[in-house]
């Protein structure tokens, strides 16, 4: 026995001193009557309900392209979700879902699109029911295609949007800025085909974009400057477009807000300002100021310039030439440049505006010309460039791998960084917290209250998997095929100077699903989210683009969303958090998970918490490097 004591001591010592990595036996024997500490992990108080499956569910269509009204398989690539509360009290309200695509469809219409449906809360189950509707155009059913073709013209790449916190008015944003007709058609190429090949159709009805590329005449009496104007078809794309979710039809393309690769926006609680996110490098920070609150057909379009005395510079709304060439106008006034602005959201309690700046790895080539022409870099980019030891954001080796969330304070008119993405090990997260904590390329953004406290909902959409964006420590990071994991985080807005370590990861989403569009229901019970292009290896229907609800947020306390408080304990112990489906450990260490029969299931290295959301219910054993064991019962 003496030898054993000695060796064991040696082992634990070296384990401590040099971050040792021991090997866990593939099998452990469980003696009769052995009673380790038992930790109970109840099921998550949050549960999932699928509402709308893209590419499978059928939508009701209007007469389109000479086809009669009928049904079609819904488009996919779900992105933004709008929620319009039902003032009549009859139901809860209307849900609208963007389809971020450009492909043709004889019944839905070419380009992207939107689907609308109406939901009520089932008084018994608490679930959401999609209710049957009859619209005034005679369509009947559950899911309705929003008619763009017969109203305002096709839309494309419907990405983010606006779901007004005031009254639930909905706008869809047409992202992916298009520069000519061939770029909306995908069938006739002349754009950057250096070979100058002529018209070419591939003979397939499913693989082309917008087929009608004849000139478009604008019919929009709300905007006299545009009404009756004839423009190339592609210029009728890349606007914010208001729709009516109740009738599943489009109202107007918001020509007076200018033409950009819009990704998202938000309306302030006073119903006067619209803040707009543009996904481009440079992306400008735009807003529209309504002359009369709630009437967004008249007012002033402005662009932000942080270093000017008057930070908002008017572009005007009556000059189509300027609004069609908005980027050039922004450059001309020396506006502030950002690196791919995405979604915008408003904290209705404070009026603060937040938006995601998703980042682009090497932005220099994309904004140097504009910088030379007078546009200015956002101050945080200048600061980052200094930190990186390069000459400026226009330096070839200036990097912006991770992106961030920005905050605009409407009172001071200042923009600050709400949370910087990373791993930037010098700053955040703490090296010890990586890889559990990391934030890369935030994209979708929304606001919700839990337990009376304000939270941002941040959705990742990774630009790449290098430089730690997909932590290689993750079992599946390497050699994975489509294994990119985009995560859904909550950020408590009461935290000052938030860093990545403060993020709360919500695991109640299907594995591998890319989450977007998060919006909370008016009763605070449910978060509606889209899974945009999930990995096919999820079980049906989670292998399709879909809209689902996570129920149960109204019952959560803020304390349900955090790990154990206090200093790490020396005793091997585990703290279950059912909401996060995470077992927190007494300290960072190596542990192995064993089945009830003592078979090693998985080894976790250097972890302070374990995600057990994917484990089946049952009994498990967790063993640490000293051979100490805890029994985990997952319900």
């Amino acid at each position: 026995m003496r030898t054993f004591y000695f060796l064991l001591g040696l082992m634990t010592l070296s384990a401590g001193a040099i971050n040792a990595q021991l090997v866990f036996p593939t099998e452990i024997e469980l003696p009769e009557g052995f009673a380790p500490t038992q930790v109970l992990m109840p099921g998550s108080p949050l549960d999932l309900q699928v509402l709308f499956i893209g590419g499978v569910d059928l939508v009701q269509t209007t007469p389109t392209y000479g086809n009669p009204a009928g049904v079609a398989v819904a488009k996919e690539w779900h992105d933004f979700i709008g929620f319009t509360p039902d003032d009549t009290g009859e139901t809860m309200g209307w849900v609208t879902v963007n389809h971020e695509s450009i492909y043709n469809d004889d019944r839905i219409g070419d380009g992207g699109g939107m689907t609308a449906f109406r939901v009520e809360r089932d008084p018994i189950t608490g679930l959401l029911n999609v209710v049957d509707q009859e619209l005034s155009d005679g369509r009947e059913g559950k899911f309705f295609n929003v008619d763009f073709v017969n109203t305002v013209g096709e839309t494309g790449m419907n990405c983010g949007g606006i779901s007004s916190v005031v009254d639930g008015r909905i706008w869809t944003a047409e992202e992916w800025f298009r520069g000519d007709n061939s770029a909306i058609n995908n069938g006739v190429f002349s754009n950057n085909n250096a070979l100058g090949a002529g018209p070419y159709g591939i003979g397939s009805s499913s693989n082309q974009g917008v087929r009608d590329t004849s000139e478009f005449t604008i019919d929009s009496p709300d905007f006299p400057a545009f009404d009756g104007m004839t423009i190339p078809k592609y210029q009728n794309f890349n606007w914010m477009v208001e729709i009516d979710p109740r009738e599943a039809t489009a109202i107007r393309k918001q020509y007076n807000w200018g033409r950009q690769g819009f990704e998202g926006g938000a309306i302030t609680p006073d119903n006067k300002y619209v803040y707009l996110g543009v996904d481009a490098t440079p992306g400008f920070w735009l807003r529209f100021v309504a002359d009369t609150p709630g009437d967004f057909t008249q007012g002033d379009l402005q662009v932000y310039k942080h270093d000017a005395d008057n930070k908002w510079i008017s572009i005007g709304e009556n000059d189509p030439e300027k609004l069609l060439n908005l980027s050039a106008e922004a450059v001309a006034v020396g506006a502030t440049m950002y690196n791919r602005n995405e979604w915008v959201t408003v904290d209705p309690n404070t009026g603060d505006i937040y938006w995601t700046e998703t980042g682009r790895d090497e932005p220099a080539g994309s904004w140097n010309d504009e910088a030379a022409a007078g546009a200015v870099f956002a101050p945080h980019h200048l600061a980052r460039a200094i930190e990186q030891g390069v000459t400026g954001p226009d330096a070839e080796d200036y990097k912006d791998y991770y992106g961030r969330v920005l905050k605009y304070d409407a009172i001071t008119e200042e923009v600050s960084v709400a949370i910087e993405g990373g791993p930037f090990f010098e700053v955040s997260p703490l090296e010890a917290d990586y890889p559990e904590k990391h934030l890369s390329n935030p994209d979708g953004l929304s606001f919700m209250e839990i337990d009376g406290q304000s939270f941002l909902i941040i959705c990742e959409d990774l630009n790449g998997d290098d430089h730690g964006r997909m932590p290689f420590e993750n079992d599946n990071a390497n050699g994975g095929l489509g294994n990119r994991l985009c995560e859904l985080f909550l950020l408590d807005l009461s935290i000052e100077d938030a860093v990545v370590d403060d993020l709360i990861r919500i695991t109640a989403v299907p594995l591998g699903a890319e989450i977007t569009g998060a919006v909370v229901t008016p009763d605070g019970k449910s978060l509606l989210v889209n899974s945009q292009h999930p990995s096919g290896i999820n079980p049906f229907p989670y292998n399709h683009s879909l809209t689902f609800a996570i129920h149960g947020f109204d019952e959560l306390l803020v304390s349900n969303l955090t790990g154990p408080n206090g200093v790490p304990s020396e005793t091997f112990s585990a703290y279950p958090n059912p909401t996060l489906q995470t077992v927190f450990l007494n300290d960072r260490q190596d542990v192995a998970l064993y089945s009830q029969l003592g078979q090693r299931l998985r080894v976790y290295r250097n972890v302070s918490q374990i995600d057990v959301s994917q484990l089946a219910a049952g009994i498990y054993y967790l063993q640490n490097e000293n051979g100490e064991t805890i029994e985990i019962v997952k319900e």
Binding site: M11, L13, I53, Y200, S204, G464, D465, D466
Partner: protein
Amino acid sequence: MRGIIIFTITTSICYLSLLLPFGMSTEQSSANRGRSELEAARLAVIGDFKVGLDKLSREIELYQQVAATEQVAQLRQQHAATREAFKRVEWLLEYIDPTAVKRFINGAPLPKTEPHVPAIVIIEPSGLQRLDELVWEEEPDFAAVRKMLNKLQREYADLQLYARNRRLQHRQLFEALRLEVVRIFTLGVSGFDTPASGLAMTENLATLLAIDHVYDYYAESVEEQDAILHRRIVTALRRGEELLSGADFNTFNRLTFLTEVINPLTSGLVDAQELLEVEFSAAARNPVNPRAKLLFGADWLNADVYAKLPLSDYEAARVELGRLLFFDPILSTNNQRACASCHLPEKAFTDGSARSLALDREGTILRNSPTLINSVFAEKFFYDLREERLDRQIKHVVHDSLEFATDFIEIVEKLSQSEEYVALFRAAYPENPDYMLSRYSVSDALGRFVKSLRAHNSPFDRMARGEAAADSEVAAGFNLFMGKAACGTCHFAPTFSGLVPPYFRESESEVLGVPATKVWENAQIDSDLGRLTNSKPGDEAYFHAFSFKTPTVRNAALTAPYMHNGVYAELEEVMDFYNRGGGAGIGSFVDHQTLPPDALELDTEEIGSLITFMEALTDTSGLTKTPIHLPEFSVAEWNGRRIGGEY
């Protein structure tokens, strides 16, 4: 680590009562000693890796200095030295950040589009492979070399910082080693990443020595528990070093290298990992099965990961339903064409036509019908790489006016008029009654059937696994394929398709300059723009014009005619085309041709060997089963449909 640092001998003893019942008893004290040996090995490997990283950093600096002096000979010498330093750390650096290495350090010298941005931005190639081309030009452009080196230096500094601070585990070291073994064979000995210098064999030796060096640290632990395994690994390493020392690129025997070096190493490393009780990564989402032992084994690639179809308790029922649907012309608008119309089992699921007949019986569809056997092993599907999911290929066929010319609403309506079909769908998709018979289930069943079409037991596979004696003609052909004829630098082993090793997660396309008609001079390039027109906005870059997915060479003996337009009827013609440098050799050249434009200078005998090798890749066993009956419908005129379609 705070809590653990405080642990002392005394506290450990206090825990003894707790520890004893579990996993640690006195008889395991030797295991404990084994563990501290293992730990020493891990730390030594990591220490060496960091030294290697610093060495590479210095070599890049030296390279910059030499580039400033404009001495060609020294430049090339320093290029080789830098590459060699890279090869010493490649195994782990690639593992830690494969994307960054590919992007900045040692990626293929071809332009790419910037990923995941709402615009087309073309990124010019940089890194060591591009430098390999630059410094081996007759008169190197020193300014360009210096510029590229500056970029390399900056990017490497970033990567080095990231890489040296990772916490590396035994598991990761073993996985990285195995990847490197595969990399040597699939890329290294084909000269993949030394396009101009021809330094491949020297570098492969450096790489193998790096592996040897790492194994050496673990050797004692392995030997103690399994001396035979240890000997197997060491013997393979020595044999490999012997074969690679002074090896000639053209005469190097790659099949011998595979069976005597690579196979014992890939299997030996897995065995050692198991022996040492080092954990494996979760298999479910990795393209390469972490426990697979042989590159040419049926279990090397994980078909489920490629198919992107969830595991199902109803797999068999779904595959059988998929088979029925595959042969049933009810899916097409005129009830006369089935998937099998253009994918005949006896022709390895191709149809023998240059381009398949169109639905109207008059024209043809756009491209040649590709084999479906092993087609699951791809990142993207179709010649133009337009579809990412196997179960969605069918969508394109369904909607295409030249193929099925229908839609899923019509198909589902039709199928629901067959009680027999409804029962089959109910049995195969009981979990979601609302979607039991829907676009989803129809696509899923067909996808699973195509996934099931896999074959890994051709005569060559058996030779490659060492189960059959090597046939000298086949071996000669294989050697040419992987060497002088440079086929294997695009048709990568073991799938012999564009699925890029060692991660096997990307499908490549290539611009060859395939002519519109079979002429050997002043040829016109086929006007099909390929990948450029796949309607994926991210692929709208000039270098994707005329670019087509690199298909598998497996079963080539059955899949004539060849190329995306079926222009060549015989394998001899295909070889002739490549032997002339593709389009560059016959007049149908475009500037962005990715196939090297040089003639291969293969003689008739060599071409014969190559074809013999390709013919040894035939295997359709067990895959040609055709249903004997199609389900009955309540609509009388639909019964009597011909199995596999009328035409």
